[in-house]
């Protein structure tokens, strides 16, 4: 076993050696005898590169993409071509539309609408106060309740949100991070109330706090304290909720924050290794908990680079788990992921064009072998989507699945000279980032130093500059623009949700046993203060006593303190 730093060096050298050994004679001949004279004649000397600054040549051939490096088939190590041998022949991806707005009643209705239209998995979005752990009646929540997602201030709200949804039949994804342990406790409590055993619950909570510090920036406590809670969730769920994915390691937000494909790939996988080490340090058996680690990637417009990114992610994860972490075999090696098309690629201008963008991105996600998919709606640069817009987005997935035939063969683009080249290049870039992150002392230390945040902000700025200089074209924004904007109908969430939620809280605080709440919160405080006691049991107790979301998070704020981001500008 190599030292960590040497291991990354070793991987980089391996790739460099392959490049050196590859035989470029055929390509060199073609470039000299055919391409160059042609370019001269047509006066063409434009140069291209991908978002990750990988140079793109005019064309590729077997000799320069080192295909001999990885001759695997789908469903076998290192899973470059997919986690399962028959991929979508066995099971199509889960069509999982992320939704949530207003009151729990509003969102409950939307979820039922989606189930009726053929959606196969639920995915719930929460509003800003919920994401930060503030109740609807807090001053900081003013104007924000229900605006960006559903508001949940207590178990009462969760009961309404999940009303008439058969929790033992659906799988539910909840996009919640800082308060993930609390929302998991609420979900479990609703199930128990309906006599559904916890080991039947299927779903995912995002919980990926590392990418919050890096990109999405919705945190409550400092990194080390949040990681302790993640550790407790890992232990608890491994034991009590074995079908529950307690962390979804997310590149999505890292990409939306402005990174390129290589950064998304590298930072996300580096976070993945960090969670793996967390579980191992907690004494969990790797083969028991690691299969529950799943991923969530972005899919944006640079078509081939995106597909290559998914393939590289699977190859790196399997390889590093086996070679560095000693996982010989088993499902943990096969990286599985959810994909969402890119919100940042949608334009405010000429919004109907977004349908096309989303379709192209969704296709790349499918060709990259995603296990589930959310397609954005055309109106999402404006607001949360209307029902009609969501339907078009869902139908986009159904058209890809049912009409195009792309699902018939696993990894249909495997063996494309260009794609294999990009896969290798992205792999190398990721190893270089892993080396850099480790030299800074690991992910948490790199976050505390602001390195990862700054890397992303710099890339975002460079990309904005190239849009302004029209080096990068966005149709309707810096080319083919129109004076008059297309009018579309958009969803408006009024302040009614806030009133309803505030009133419900008022009633709740009157009806509940406030002594029981106090005791439960006191008990949670003691647990938070002792680092080794698992906090999930006390969290569930507090939730079931109808302590509010903020009352619970405030205990943590008190014990752990708050987090101030290092200077990144």
């Amino acid at each position: 076993m190599l030292e960590t730093e040497n291991y990354w060096k070793h991987k980089i050298n391996e790739l460099a050696k392959l490049k050196k050994d590859s035989n470029n004679e055929d390509v060199k001949r073609w470039e000299k005898e055919v391409l160059e004279p042609w370019n001269k004649k047509t006066n063409n000397n434009e140069e291209f590169s991908t978002t990750s600054d990988i140079d793109v040549k005019t064309s590729y051939y077997d000799s320069d993409n080192q295909m001999n490096k990885d001759r695997s088939m789908p469903g076998e190590f290192p899973f470059t071509r997919g986690p399962y041998p028959n991929m979508y022949r066995g099971k199509k991806w889960t069509m999982r539309m992320f939704s949530g707005f207003g009151t729990p009643e509003d969102t409950n209705n939307r979820l039922k609408y989606l189930i009726k239209n053929g959606q196969t998995g639920l995915s719930i979005a929460f509003d800003m106060p919920t994401l930060y752990g503030y109740d609807a009646d807090n001053d900081r929540s003013k104007g924000e309740v229900g605006k960006c997602g559903c508001n949940i201030s207590s178990l009462k709200d969760m009961e309404v949100l999940l009303k008439d949804i058969p929790l033992n039949q659906v799988s539910t994804s909840m996009t919640i991070n800082a308060p993930a342990s609390i929302l998991t406790a609420m979900y479990a409590s609703v199930a128990l109330k309906n006599n559904i055993p916890l080991n039947e619950l299927r779903g995912t909570v995002q919980t990926d706090i590392l990418k919050e510090y890096i990109a999405q920036k919705e945190w409550a406590y400092p990194p080390k304290d949040h990681m302790r809670i993640v550790r407790d969730m890992m232990e608890y769920c491994t034991k009590e909720m074995p079908k529950w994915n307690y962390v979804s390691i997310s590149g999505y937000h890292i990409r939306e924050a402005g990174s390129n494909a290589a950064q998304e790939l590298a930072f996300t996988l580096a976070n993945g290794f960090t969670y793996l080490e967390l579980g191992q340090k907690a004494g969990l058996k790797t083969e028991e908990f690691a299969p529950r680690l799943s991923f969530f990637f972005n899919c944006t417009m640079n078509f081939f680079e995106e597909i290559a990114k998914f393939r590289a992610a699977r190859r790196i994860w399997a390889t590093v788990l086996r070679e560095k972490y000693g996982v010989e075999k088993g499902p943990a090696l096969a990286l599985r992921f959810h994909t969402q098309t890119s919100g940042a690629s949608l334009t405010w201008q000429q919004p109907m064009n977004n349908i096309v963008r989303t379709a192209i991105e969704a296709l790349a996600g499918v060709l990259g072998g995603t296990q589930s998919l959310h397609t954005n709606s055309y109106d999402e640069a404006w607001a949360l989507p209307t029902e009609q817009a969501v339907k078009v987005a869902l139908r986009t997935q159904q058209i890809i699945a049912e009409e195009t035939g792309v699902i018939q063969s696993a990894d249909p683009l495997g063996g494309s000279y260009y794609l294999e080249h990009l896969t290798n290049e992205l792999e190398e870039k990721a190893y270089r980032y892993f080396e850099k992150i480790d030299s800074l002392g690991g992910v948490i230390s790199a976050i505390e130093k602001g390195y990862l945040q700054k890397e992303i902000a710099e890339t975002a700025y460079r990309s904005q500059l190239s849009i302004e200089k029209e080096k990068e074209v966005i149709v309707g924004v810096n080319k083919y623009t129109e004076e008059e904007e297309d009018k579309i109908e958009i969803l408006k969430v009024d302040d009614e949700a806030q009133k309803i939620q505030v009133n419900r809280l008022k009633q709740l605080k009157k009806d509940r046993d406030n002594n029981k709440v106090r005791e439960a919160l006191e008990s949670l405080r003691n647990t938070y203060e002792s680092n080794d006691k698992n906090c999930m049991y006390d969290t569930i107790k507090a939730v079931q006593a109808y302590a509010t979301l903020q009352e619970i998070v405030d205990v943590g704020r008190d014990v752990f303190g708050e987090w101030k981001e290092p200077q990144i500008f």
Partner: protein, 131 residues
């Protein structure tokens, strides 16, 4: 030589979509302004206080979470309360067309949506700060 524009960039609310503001911070800096970034999650009152402490000419506010109609006028209100109504407020983010008038009426100008070029925003700031 003209005096440099001092500008505070802030997101006054529970909204961490900071890609846009971090890009703007860099763009304002490269356009020769002195840029102060508030960091994430300040309240409208804190934004007003920082603006006064830092003696800025303008505040660039951004929100993507739908709370602009509440939060932007609050910043203005606190500036007035603290006797600093001369500080210009420029708005941006996900702001529907029909909300712009109300913001303008509250003294918040610009109200730029996604896809606005950095140059347009910089020109506007120069105009309202008269620098």
């Amino acid at each position: 030589m003209a005096q440099k524009i001092r500008i505070l960039v802030a997101k006054p609310g529970l909204d961490a979509h900071d890609r846009g503001v971090l890009v703007l911070c860099r763009a304002f800096r490269d356009a020769g302004m002195e840029v102060i970034y508030s960091g994430l999650l300040p309240t409208p009152e804190q934004v007003a206080s920082i603006a006064i402490d830092e003696d800025v000419d303008a505040i660039a506010l951004s929100l993507h979470n739908g709370a602009h109609l509440t939060a932007f006028p609050e910043v203005k209100k606190f500036l007035e309360k603290k006797g600093a109504s001369e500080i210009a407020i420029i708005g941006g983010g996900i702001i529907p067309e029909e909300d712009k008038e109300e913001l303008e009426n509250n003294g918040i100008t610009g109200n730029f949506g996604p896809g606005t070029s950095m140059d347009t925003i910089i020109e506007h700031i120069k105009k309202v700060t008269k620098k």
